[in-house]
């Protein structure tokens, strides 16, 4: 793979292809676009630095990058710095309950951030949001939504089955 050699051109192509999706994911966690773009920068650098440890046999490149983006964003919201200085309410209910992400930036793109989780019934949507975008553990979700641990797992699986259908994944 070209990227293994640290090829800047490959990185540029990768950026063009995936940065939008990565930023979308980051903005589900950190709705403020300026902060989210800072995180995107960090994410891309991380991808650059760690591409050598990515194993194609083990997983998919895009998923690997998505997970870096998610983890970086979640870590950011949990950092002391972010909590103290941030005026945005990233872990606000409104993120997963509202139809679109409210954004003060006025960027036309943000209007398109229709959550694909909207395909799900409300309870499952909330659960998937906590799991995927907030990074809650099964135990934390179980406590937060007041449901048994086994149910959390079942609902995650059922949600994925439904989403696969809705997003036309075979």
């Amino acid at each position: 793979m070209r990227l293994n050699k640290g090829d800047q051109q490959a990185m540029s192509e990768l950026y063009d292809r995936f940065s939008g999706a990565l930023l979308g994911v980051i903005m589900k966690v950190i709705p403020d676009q300026a902060t989210a773009e800072d995180v995107l920068q960090e994410v891309m650098l991380k991808i650059w630095n760690n591409i050598g440890s990515f194993d194609t046999a083990k997983g998919r490149l895009f998923t690997w990058m998505l997970n870096i983006a998610r983890n970086q964003s979640i870590d950011k919201t949990r950092s002391k710095n972010f909590k103290n200085s941030s005026q945005n309410s990233s872990i606000d209910d409104s993120v997963y309950l509202s139809e679109t992400i409210s954004s003060g930036s006025g960027n036309a793109d943000t209007m398109d951030v229709q959550s694909w989780l909207l395909h799900l019934p409300e309870e499952n949507r909330k659960l998937m949001h906590l799991a995927y975008f907030i990074g809650f553990t099964q135990e934390e979700i179980s406590k937060e939504l007041d449901m048994p641990l086994g149910t959390v797992k079942t609902k995650i699986r059922n949600s994925l089955i439904l989403l696969r259908k809705k997003l036309n994944v075979s």
């Binding site: 650098l45 083990k58 797992k153």
Partner: protein
């Protein structure tokens, strides 16, 4: 190996979402490498999130890419200035190779141990399940036996009540013919229909190879009225049809009965009043 239970467990979804603890995640990775079906399922789950991410893509400001590319540029430059001499580089490569070899050997051992562990675990689980099922089946057949026993008793009590309240049925007590031996039986006989029942509850158990036989005396001659089943001694037993009986007697005979009673083996006797 049944893969559907792994696929349906929900663990693969948790794996893709990064919610599994590391040791379970590496188990899933091993399974995915062994079984294409599992790899396929994981891919489909991952693709779902990828499709979702594509659907909510937000184009970043142009400045982000510029900043990134110049940062990468700076990085590449600093790393190229620190590239060591050729000799050192080769050594590093050799070291890398040997550490890679070590790593792959360690990994294969790990896989082997994991597989061994997995099969032992599956074997034990399977054994345990088999035992559980066997125990449950035993329990069930135990309950079934109890049920049939109880049903028999209930039927017997109902029969007893019916016979006791039927005015055309006579109850004849058969008492011990030997002095000092506590044994007795009760016979219920309908003179009109010939229906005959015995309650053998108070007869002693028979020695092995022997069986009680019921007789009735008609016109001074003993007539066979059937064998008594002592393994069912707590219920009323229907005997052969009986007409014109003047007395009833029970003898101890060889298993299956005798054509004529062995008189010195007579246990109990009762006259029809």
């Amino acid at each position: 190996m049944d893969l559907s239970c792994i696929i349906q467990s929900g663990d693969l979804e948790l794996y893709v979402m990064g919610m599994l603890p590391p040791e379970e995640a590496s188990k899933v990775e091993t399974l995915a490498q062994l079984f294409p079906e599992i790899k396929q399922e994981i891919d489909a789950i991952a693709q779902t999130f990828e499709a979702g991410a594509m659907q909510m893509a937000v184009t970043p400001s142009a400045a982000v890419k510029d900043k990134l590319m110049s940062a990468l540029n700076a990085k590449t430059e600093t790393s190229s200035t620190s590239v060591p001499g050729k000799v050192v580089e080769m050594k590093t490569k050799a070291e890398e190779r040997s550490s890679f070899n070590k790593l792959s050997i360690a990994a294969s051992w790990g896989l082997l141990i994991l597989l061994g562990g997995l099969s032992v675990y599956l074997f034990n689980t399977n054994k345990q399940l088999k035992n559980d099922v066997a125990a449950m089946q035993q329990n069930i057949s135990g309950y079934e036996n109890q049920m049939t026993g109880l049903n028999k008793k209930v039927n017997s009590y109902e029969m007893y009540r019916r016979l006791k309240t039927d005015s055309s049925v006579q109850t004849i007590m058969l008492a011990s013919v030997k002095e000092g031996v506590r044994q007795q039986a009760e016979v219920f006989w309908n003179k009109n229909t010939g229906e005959l029942f015995i309650d053998p509850a108070f007869l002693p158990q028979t020695p092995s190879g022997k069986q009680y036989q019921l007789w009735f005396i008609a016109d001074g001659k003993p007539v066979d009225a059937g064998m008594i089943n002592m393994s069912d001694s707590d219920v009323l037993q229907k005997m052969k049809e009986c007409k014109g009986a003047q007395a009833f007697a029970i003898t101890l005979e060889k298993e299956g009965g005798s054509p004529t009673p062995t008189m010195d083996q007579m246990m109990v006797l009762g006259k029809v009043s």
